[in-house]
Subunit: 343 residues, 2 copies
Amino acid sequence: MPDTRITAAQVARRAGVSQPTVSRVFTPGARVSADKVKLVQDAARELGYRPNTLARSLNTGRSFTIGIVLAYLKNPFYPEALQKLSERLSERGYHVLVFFAANMAEEVDSVVEGLLAHQVDGIILASTSMSNQLTARLRDLNMPFVLFNRGQDDRTLPSVTAANYDGGRLAGQFLAAGGHSRIAHIAGWKKSVNGRDRQQGFVDGLAAHGLTPFAVIDSHYRRSMAITATLDLFSGAEVPDAIFVGNDHMAFAVLETLRCDLRLCVPRDVSVVGYDDVPMSAWKTYDLTTLRQPVNRMVEETVSMLLSMIEDGVTPKGRVEIESALVIRGSARVPEGWADGPI
Amino acid sequence: MPDTRITAAQVARRAGVSQPTVSRVFTPGARVSADKVKLVQDAARELGYRPNTLARSLNTGRSFTIGIVLAYLKNPFYPEALQKLSERLSERGYHVLVFFAANMAEEVDSVVEGLLAHQVDGIILASTSMSNQLTARLRDLNMPFVLFNRGQDDRTLPSVTAANYDGGRLAGQFLAAGGHSRIAHIAGWKKSVNGRDRQQGFVDGLAAHGLTPFAVIDSHYRRSMAITATLDLFSGAEVPDAIFVGNDHMAFAVLETLRCDLRLCVPRDVSVVGYDDVPMSAWKTYDLTTLRQPVNRMVEETVSMLLSMIEDGVTPKGRVEIESALVIRGSARVPEGWADGPI
DNA sequence: CTGAAAGCGCTTACAG
DNA sequence: CTGAAAGCGCTTACAG
């Protein structure tokens, strides 16, 4: 709280013009004569004037602020997404208010209350669990929002995700075509649409090769649970020869457990495929074959959907899915002739 | 921009009271009779009223918003710090506005302009490079700010860092006591006070054992440069037997390069020590011996410094340094009798 | 305790 | 183009 906030009225006095004229000089579209502009700009510079955006927002009803609700940043997909969302929004003149809400739906709800009170122009929801009431409420309030990397069963809600079903299916086909026959799935989270879609695609991909999953273990996108799941998978008489993991973040834990605890060789003993293609996947330590979730395209799409709702009043187009390409690296055996695509 | 924003005046009309009374009901300290409270709360609930915080801020001069300026989130220390800063500030009733400014000082400056225009109550600067003019300006404006994980030469500026000199010194002593004699330093960034302090401590730590660094290579806290530096260190006839790396983020790249490219064994052939103790350091894949930068304590200290300036007008106490403990894991040979502490 | 009034720092018709 | 006036949705002395 600086002692001396300079106001438009002070600038006006110094420049010898009216306060609204000062306002006009700082309003892009407004018409002001060149000489007034100069007078005002000089006075403003001398006094160190900066228009108060809060007062402006109160008048215009637009805060140029977007709220982003996140669950956590442990999965490295999110820091990258957050930074890119923030950068794209900044370019378009918006500020970003971030909130972390762990997965309980109530917490998300109260955070959204705060965002509404703060008069944000729109909201990006990237937290895993969101009550249906919440999205219904935002829709009733006519508050623009986009679900980022999450779906809801209602496909008319504006959301941007990867084509998770197709991605999962591709993973299943790739591993089956690679000659594996005991293919397990360390899954994301049953209650997330993303997780369900990936799993269903995977199951169908195997089915196309006459296979069923060796096992499916729900691991809530958590490292610790992925480690336990991996150990469990290898504790019996029969063990898997391949694992499709619900995201890269868990896949790193799986690779580590296979190598450091189970002393298995990847991909000789076990093939591993992840989902996301976060930058770490390309590190030599992991060299993970994975389905690419194109952050850049997801971010662009999210920002353009949201801003078209806000600025142009466009009706959201419902769920947008972005294709997931398979990025082949060293962690999974490559089927012969795969270059030609899935069989 | 919801069509129907409910205002205090509408609630007042419905409740049969004056608009200021509605305001009082939503103002913690204000005195209102119990029956008015009930009337207003009922009306507010029925209409779905939510006080407009922008209007409130315009009156009170307090926005309950803190700006956080970051450079990037690639180094996993930052996502964790950001989340914790945000959570602590939320608990205290503040919203968080995030900005990413790559390292050019001008960019940081323009971001701060935006923050000032947005009427933030305070600023946390966590971006690597900050012009001295900027901090001088904030000080002149009497805008509360804290430098997070960065110092400036002027030690009277409010900042929270690890005790980097001591940490670097401990790393040097630990490696020297471990019997290494050709100890290299893949350093952070010469222009950052953090990097310089760690390096100076390291050099002095070696000196205490009669050693000088095998080499010091500035790698700007970047993975790619750390990889190049590692390869360079091992390209000559004489090679190092230990490396102290300026942060964990680079140390992961160093470990990977040693193992995957140079086919060296850690710690048999080379000991590696990092700085930060980000969660990944504990992963079995890395098992990195490192100096702990206690995020939690740094966050607590930063938030309490900033809020005491904002809320109590307390004069900042200058740089606060938080002790860095050595976390011993498997990536570096442990000196005999080290349990007793540095020699 | 509570209402009428003024004001926070702007924007935006409204005249001219 | 530009000034006087009203208003955005609140808070806060000021009376009573």
